[in-house]
């Protein structure tokens, strides 16, 4: 099946957003055909003429043709790499520009609520609360995009904070409670009283934990159940989120951590998201020296886990 797919040049060109003439598989196919034709011509030429000059000349012609097509391929690859770099830089630049207005909105609404709320009614206060919430959401999305652009450039550097993961899980759980209540999902947290501190990027580990918990809540139907578990396992700390939600179709499971992946079920159940969450989580965890894995059965549920080393050797 994969070979048939690879030979579907028009589809590949469409996917890459280039013309057929620029599709790598077309160029390789063309090169292959030319080599075969050229070899045949050389063979017959040497049979009929038998002169070394003709042979050398035709070999030379073949080399020139291959070299020309090869150059063309390299140019296209360079063109695509450059386009990808520009895209990534554009995302960085746009996100950077968005960060200032996000901070302005956030601070101005906080100042309004904390210092100038005299005379404001309940409705006004509610609306300011909505503005703050939407702004926090936007801030997260911009943060995700920035990190994706950094990952594309191989430029994501993680902070080395001393973190208390028990507290982070508690904070995230509290922050996700309104979502759970709204979705009618029960969330149980099973954590030990204390765990050793670990060295990792606090903000990003928090995002990773939040992505997994909020995903579990979003993908679990009304009346469902989510279990969050944190435990020490030798020289590692394991974090697991298990749900009895809609699960991921088996044929899509190998794509779960890909960038922009959205399961068919997310469209079917109209669950919002960018498809960046798990991609980011995987990269955060792995760059922190940890591992991530999951199990999922459609209509039964999923469990997503990661482990982080207690002593980060990275």
């Amino acid at each position: 099946m994969k070979i048939v797919n690879d030979l579907n040049i028009r589809k590949q060109a469409d996917e890459l957003g280039v013309s057929i003439w620029q599709a790598p598989s077309f160029l390789f196919l063309l090169m292959g055909i030319i080599v075969v034709v050229a070899m045949t011509v050389v063979y017959f030429a040497s049979m009929n003429y038998g002169s070394p000059e003709i042979l050398i000349f035709s070999e030379f012609a073949v080399v020139i043709i291959i070299f020309t097509i090869g150059t063309f391929i390299i140019r296209n690859v360079e063109y695509m790499a450059a386009a990808n770099k520009i895209k990534s830089e554009f995302i960085s630049m746009a996100s950077h520009q968005l960060k200032t207005p996000i901070a302005e909105l956030s601070w101005a609404s906080e100042l309004l609520i904390s210092k100038y709320k005299k005379g404001l009614g309940k409705k006004q206060l509610d609306l300011i609360g909505e503005i703050s919430k939407a702004n926090a959401h936007m801030s997260r999305l911009v943060g995700d995009l920035l990190d994706v652009a950094r990952l594309d450039r191989g430029a994501l550097l993680l902070a080395q904070d001393k973190i208390n993961i028990v507290n982070i899980v508690k904070e995230v759980h509290e922050a996700d409670l309104p979502l759970a209540t709204a979705m009618g999902v029960k969330v149980d947290v099973i954590i030990p009283g204390s765990l050793p501190e670990i060295i990792a990027d606090k903000r990003r580990i928090k995002v990773a934990i939040d992505n997994l918990i909020s995903n579990a809540i979003k993908y679990t139907a009304d009346g469902g159940y989510v279990e969050v578990r944190l435990e020490k396992d030798g020289d590692k700390i394991n974090f697991c989120v298990k749900d009895n939600g809609i699960g991921i179709p088996e044929k899509q499971q190998d794509k779960v951590f890909e960038k922009f992946f959205r399961s068919d079920n997310s469209a079917k159940y109209k669950i919002e998201g960018t498809g960046l969450g798990l991609y980011i989580v995987k990269n955060y965890v792995e760059q922190s020296g940890g591992k991530i894995w999951f199990k999922s059965i459609e209509n039964v549920g999923s469990s997503f886990c990661f482990s982080l080393p207690i002593v980060n050797k990275k």
Binding site: K99, T100, E110, L111, L157, L158, R203
Partner: protein, 125 residues
Amino acid sequence: MEKKKKIVIIEDEVILRETLQDFLEKEDFDVDSAADGEAGVEMVMRKNPDLVLLDIILPKKNGYEVITELRENQTTKDVPIILLTNLGSIRDIEKALALGATTYLVKADYQLKEIVEKIKGVLEM
């Protein structure tokens, strides 16, 4: 009554500067602010504050230059400096910390009350 702690904010974005100043004044700090690096250095030297909040990208003198100048001056060489970064790029932060900044925070990720907590932490209040 204990004397109010003095803070100088060096930040060019007017809304950020004014909201931060307003909030910190509400929290009982004595706050002054400057909109560029040059005026910022001058103000810190003159006011001799307990703490400086410093943006990186600034007109006239950038944040790194401000840190270097403050650290070279006898009166300001020990003043705590909290860096206000926009992107939270580790490279920028490491550079600033190496030059002598005390700590940092990413503006869009911090609420004003968290900034106050951070300030109080640095000032050991």
